[in-house]
Symmetry: C2
Subunit: 159 residues, 2 copies
Amino acid sequence: MSSDNRVNSALLESLTHRLQRYGMRSVLFQQNMAQKIGVSHTDLKSAEILNETGPITAGELSKITGLSTGSVTALINRLEKSGYVKRERDQLDGRKVMIMPIPERQEQIKSHYQSLSMATKELCSAYNEQELILINQFVEEITKIMDKENNKLMSERER
Amino acid sequence: MSSDNRVNSALLESLTHRLQRYGMRSVLFQQNMAQKIGVSHTDLKSAEILNETGPITAGELSKITGLSTGSVTALINRLEKSGYVKRERDQLDGRKVMIMPIPERQEQIKSHYQSLSMATKELCSAYNEQELILINQFVEEITKIMDKENNKLMSERER
């Protein structure tokens, strides 16, 4: 093993470990945020998912969150009651009911993340364009890996 | 605004957004994993925290997780029962009771993360040393930001 490989192997270990630590911090952050906003952790996560996906069906939300159909129905009821979403019949397929995120309320959620967003942007502005492109691409790739691992875990559960 | 600034501003937006998406995937991943291992989300998170910190007191764990003292006591009872931790009197200060992670059981948890670790390492090995150092440093910095934001949210709660 060349000296370069040894260095890289230590770096890989370090990076894998750090990514795990960052992931854990994200979990803690979301729980802290849910407590601040006054919604449950699961409800906040679902509101965030809807914010990202746009209108989807209850079945699709159940698949992404891994919650049972019954739990998702109860969840949508809660989110509807607190004004984060509304149910609407799909204009193209009248049999489908879509869960529509309500933009104003979603903006309110986003505003709570402002402090984190600002700090993130400040950190990023210390990097040059080439570096930002590299990091951007890395985060995109690692997110794809997470998606794949999540899908694997969810399909194991379905079996 | 120069064209360079515009490019960077779009990159900053994109990166901030991608980091949030990655964070959400981490939350989903941990929930899926908890379900697979058969422990609650909170319990798995706490076991992971202990794995990272090493022996700490119930008070310290309560501070990191944001759980009440009562909840933490119940949590430690559960983790002790499932063999993830044991309580031990501190050798230096007999009044302190430390929660000790049990290495074998923690290794079992880690083994469940193997698939993710392998995929992460494979991704990282596509980068050269200089790039890995940059990404490593970025992840470290963004984790510090998360820590700061978490502390802020937790101290708001205490007030």
